[in-house]
Symmetry: C3
Subunit: 348 residues, 3 copies
């Protein structure tokens, strides 16, 4: 009998600085994926929901939801980067750079840009820059991510510590790259659902998104499989029943998509996430929990060369079983699930 051909994933000592990994499972995105995504989250942003609306303002057709693109790219990296991860530590310098349309095929690569063994010698932090491309080789998404990965062998010798220098936030000149020049006069605010454009939001403004969404096991499993994300903890109750929580852990990206869809109520014209500055999954979510969300306008920016769109820097907070009229964000509050810092764009 030969050595088994199954993949058990990379361990910390398997990574090397500068290593470039081409990930498997190229994926053609379809309107079918979009429909399943809609049935999972209830997104209502007009640009992604209606090809007629999108074409009227300058898109080829309705672009695919930004977070769906992210989930596809991240899913491809899982078997190589994070199958043996204990924690997803952070994101930085995360930019959407071209629109993705149904029919496009996505592939992904990752470069190892940092490695730092932990003092216990049992784990280390792997920093990668992951890049999603379409079938023409154009970069659609690019981001740095770091995860804590187990060592196979605590005694394995590893190279010197390298921690990459990552920006605290994406600069305004790097925003809006995935948005074609828009004909804002054709943007129908009533159809989009709100009279508020970029000039109507103020720094410091907070918005309670009001609605809550309860998550079922079948739902997050359908989502995570759609993204071809085979991380073990989301699907396998046999193992998880013996694990730390006794139950399946919901993919953190599911919470982001839920919160983003909930944020439509108050951010109706904020149709595109253009960059993520950073974010934390503060607590895990399990089936049965009801997700609520609120947002704060952290900053506003003009985008050099663009008079059609402006950028809002937003904090998006998601909670579990806790309505957000009081904008909860106590660090000690176990009900906070997500604290995301991102740039979004909307018409001016």
């Amino acid at each position: 009998m030969t050595k088994t051909k199954s993949n058990i994933g990379n361990f910390f000592e398997d990574f090397s600085l500068g290593q470039v990994i081409r990930h498997a499972a190229p994926r053609t995105v379809t309107t079918g994926d979009v429909a399943v995504y809609t049935s999972l989250y209830l997104p209502r942003f007009a640009v992604q929901s209606s090809s007629a609306f999108a074409q009227a303002i300058g898109y080829e057709q309705a672009p695919v939801d930004d977070m769906l693109v992210f989930h596809f790219v991240l899913g491809k990296t899982v078997p190589d980067v994070s199958l043996n991860a204990l924690a997803n530590l952070g994101y930085a310098d995360f930019k959407f750079l071209a629109p993705v349309y149904p029919g496009d095929t996505l592939t992904a690569t990752s470069e190892v840009i940092g490695l730092k063994e932990n003092s216990n010698k049992k784990t280390g932090v792997v920093y990668v820059r992951s890049t999603g491309r379409n079938q023409r080789g154009e970069v659609v998404l690019d981001y740095a991510r770091w995860v804590m990965v187990k060592k196979r062998d605590p005694d394995a010798q590893v190279g010197p510590e390298v921690v990459p220098n990552l920006p605290k936030s994406v600069a305004p000149e790097d925003l809006g790259k995935a948005v074609p020049a828009l004909n804002v006069s054709a943007y129908d605010k009533v159809l989009a659902g709100s009279p508020y454009f970029w000039g109507d939001y103020e720094k410091g403004e907070k918005i309670d998104h009001i609605d809550g969404m309860t998550v079922e096991e079948a739902e997050h499993q359908l989502a995570t499989r759609l993204y071809q994300n085979n991380s073990k903890v989301h699907f396998n109750q046999y193992y998880e029943s013996q694990g730390r929580f006794g139950k399946r852990i919901i993919y953190g990206g599911h919470v982001i998509s839920l919160a983003r869809a909930l944020s439509f109520n108050g951010l109706e014209n904020v149709f595109h996430i253009t960059a993520v500055n950073g974010g934390r999954h503060v607590n895990p979510l399990f089936a049965g929990g009801t997700v609520f969300a609120w947002s704060e306008v952290l900053d506003k920016a003009e985008i050099p060369g663009r008079s059609d769109i402006g950028a809002l820097r937003l904090r998006l907070v998601a909670t579990k079983d806790k309505p957000c009229a009081e904008f909860p964000l106590d660090a000690a509050d176990a009900s906070v699930l997500l604290d995301l810092d991102y740039w979004a764009v909307l018409p001016r």
Copy 2:
């Protein structure tokens, strides 16, 4: 801090007679939506299931299931019309007027055609005529609906009572508008699943649809999100656990779609719902319930100018945890969920 931008919906005193509301969230319908719909209900009508079948008899391609079109249009009206509704009271003069194909974009408007404050001053009935249109502005669906809506302020003064005069049933000359001229000789009864055409059904005939379908929480949530229907009671267990029933209430339209799909068994060639005369959600459904259905032929009609299709007026009754061999319809029977009166068409 500015006034919040979130939408909490209209209250009774926010509506005015003759007011026209253009609803948000235009939606391009896709074969992806059709696939999710199929996975939720198990529809098998050949015209909607097969483009080859549909084209052979005269459609451009397989049209989208009528009830999916209805759910999309209704979903758009929810944020403006019924977010603060306590009850969905009725439908009338409900007509499908043009086929919807994958690729079409649906929008919706509603006109307030009646207002009637209830004697308790806490609620009132809002009558609207809602209209769904495709991207060419053609009306695909038009119906009157009335809902009981909360008042924000019981002391608010409201206008005089206006109750619209609505027909008890749709007239035969208004039926079949969404059906192109059919080449009935190309309609393959074996592929469609039944030898029975219009002439084979008799007034008074009752049909037990035999099969039952158990509903899970994830299923009705997927459905209702697919329709972008953000009515609160379907998704939020946190609030519903404190509510009247202690659990999420399944969208009434989910029961209609289940019953319609079950009715294939006995109505295989009755491929299109052309109008709804009226209907009641007699009792609510909750996850775990098993839905059964039966039909009665209330009437038959020729459609002026059409020798290809004829109309059946059908009563469709859905029950919960109660097989329908005895055609249950006792008003005191809590197992009855739905009592729908509609016109459907089939080949002659």
Copy 3:
């Protein structure tokens, strides 16, 4: 009142040797169906996942997953063949003969090729050859299947016993018919996820596919409805609560699709199931169970006239709540769900 028009399915004495049944519910397969399928099983084979990948090696576009084609064809046969079946006994001479692409419309016919009453006179075995065709009439799938069907009337007289002579395995010259001539030099092993081609697998080799997938009620119901398979036992908790197991029985094909998707881990380039020699659903699966899988290479074969692809004869075993590092296959082990013997192809 007329005789009811509902279909209650055929009983053993309703079948006659040589009878040909054209099944109802023609179905146009779409990228929507593929997306729902992906969300149900997490398949990652590059050929089916990426149109760019598929086109590069010689397909028109990404073909539809083989098992999805099978589920559609089988689903059509259920109302006529197995609505009153007590057991699905076996498959033989099962061959995929042409690729299916989104946009194709599938229909199915079955010919009765054998009938054998059981000695208790209450049931009999019906052997059918079922054939799935596309809209051009090309056969895409052809297989023999036998099921145990109830008699309506134990006293009904039936014809002489005829048991067809079916091959124990499909011959190498009948393999690979649904695979166009491939340009193997354009097959990107890194994108596909594995360096192993046909020459790298050895007879007797066993592979643990490692991962496990827990199944929810909503998931198998969505799947089975997607396939328009209306077999009663999968959907109706009202009846099943009074049945043999007290709960809904998961469609056996759901287990095959789960095991096939799990088998990607170790069989990444084994992109196509070309034939099934035989198989058994050893035990039923219920919601809440976690499915694991392992494979054994039973044989290898060159395909006459094909230098691009070779065939592996594989045993695919699925288990419930039992990891497969030890390759469990004890006949007395209630955790074994599936034991499938099939031919698959991969590049040489």
